[in-house]
Symmetry: C2
Subunit: 301 residues, 2 copies
């Protein structure tokens, strides 16, 4: 039987090793790269790259082809965390139980480390070296351009960056549920969906399966955010590595604040159940994707 | 006879129109895109995209193929200006005679507008739409991936971002000329060289010509920076749209401060003369590149 916990640990290790190898090709003595490495290796859960790899596996793709893409995605995610934590934005001092980048280094270094990570993602995605020795018909230049397009669209002004803009400009304003969902679909949903789609495309996914995976990702991504909101209310700060109750203190709009804790949990469970149904057309290779959906609803950090 | 001033005005207009058209495909009512448009259309000289177009023309390439690349380059340049101007970095209030992005909007919006512009560059470079109707043998997916690689390498932690890191961390420290040149080669040189190379490659340039153009760009880029330093000492603030003497006030290392004004001018002239010699293997199609070299040495802003 498929053991998701083992899968998670195994893939986290593969991703972490791969990220370190990628960073090691750069001169790490520079303060900039120290800050990049500090934030990138600060113990993230690697949800997005694992989703990317799992989607590739679900369509019987090769790990070697998808790994550089998964690493690039984690770099885009980490850059967004560094910039979101800045004093001018969320002004967070703690991330994953450690001082945030601008606290550990300084504000200028944190801004530049974020810029470097975002750029590095595209350096890796466009580099023949990243994919060397793993070329095949499904992994040609057109596929890689498509993946760059999907990820940059998800990260940019129609996706994550606009989502963060909406998030900071809606603090202390009361949103309705539709607007909250729209904000999350941009801020976190777009990159989660792009992670799944990029992984699937790198594995040579057909159009019908891609549609199912894309919907699976939308639902799983929203559930992920709702659980995040719930954990902020009732999570254990020691387990999460960050303070609980920060959303309320900031007058942030959250699912619990708009629909209550109980209904938020019911909604998250419904989304995960729908996401699992969308995987019915896949064989056992989609077990990791099934496992991630279960993990998201049961996680405590 | 070739009229460089007419060429400059004509190409600036083409680039500006193309930038506006690209932005117009996004919802401009958002505060984020207002900030993006504000900074992108704030009257830049468009040196980098014009270098890119001129390099393409020098090898008899097509304007239609190079224009989206030129626009992406100006976006990368503008993002770097927005972030460099931030309070945590150079803390500049004025840019091209107008309030900087974080003054006109706010700090969070400026950080995000920079992030959006950098990402937008890669959205455009990876989008088939950007190049629609202009496909040809020399402009296939492999070429476009190569161009993404060249530009992201020049922009990132081995290029522009590391250069800015060196620049802010070397303020108030005395550099020698080698270190100053190294800093500039990263901070401004890398993207200028990449602009020329990307334009040439999009035009189907051969290896020998690419080598000449790359050296031309290195020398022209360094001369550009030296003239910048000189203008900061003796330029007219009204013409430049920014204050003079800011480098000295900040204890910045500059060519005039390290080797004096007269020797700085001699060095810039020598670099431009060498750059022009490198163009001897080209026909009249390289006249725009020759004109830009002359413009850089004679400019007053």
């Amino acid at each position: 039987m498929f053991n998701f916990k083992e899968y998670l640990v195994e893939k986290q290790e593969i991703i972490n090793n791969s990220l370190v190898n990628l960073l090691d090709t750069f001169p790490l003595y520079s303060r900039l790269m120290q800050a990049v490495k500090y934030s990138l290796m600060a113990g993230g859960k690697r949800v997005r790259p694992i989703l990317c790899i799992a989607a590739c596996e679900a369509v019987h793709g090769e790990l070697q082809n998808v790994l550089p893409i998964a690493c690039a995605i984690e770099m885009i995610h980490t850059y967004s965390l560094i910039h979101d934590d800045l004093p001018a934005m969320d002004n967070d001092n703690l991330r994953r139980g450690k001082p945030t980048c601008h606290i550990q280094f300084d504000e200028a270094t944190a801004i530049l480390a974020g810029d470097a990570l975002l750029t590095l993602a595209f350096q890796i995605l466009s580099s023949a070296d990243s994919f060397q020795g793993h070329h095949n018909e499904d992994h040609n230049a057109v596929t890689r351009l498509t993946i760059i397009k999907i990820l940059s669209d998800a990260a940019g002004c129609n996706g994550m960056v606009e989502g963060q803009m909406l998030d900071i400009s809606s603090e202390a304003k009361l949103l309705d549920l539709d607007k909250l969902e729209h904000m999350h679909s941009l801020k976190t949903g777009a990159l989660i969906e792009a992670s799944v789609c990029a992984g699937a495309i790198s594995g040579g996914c057909n159009a019908k399966k891609l549609e199912h995976l894309s919907s699976y990702a939308k639902k799983t991504g929203l559930a992920f955010q709702i659980i995040d909101d719930i954990l902020d209310v009732e999570g254990d700060p020691l387990v999460m590595g960050k303070c609980a109750g920060t959303d309320e203190n900031r007058n942030k709009n959250t699912y619990p604040s708009l629909m209550g804790l109980k209904n938020s949990k019911i909604l998250a469970e419904k989304l995960i159940s729908d996401a699992l149904n969308l995987l019915d057309i896949f064989d056992n290779s989609a077990d990791p994707l099934r496992g991630i959906a279960g993990y998201i609803i049961d996680r405590n950090r």
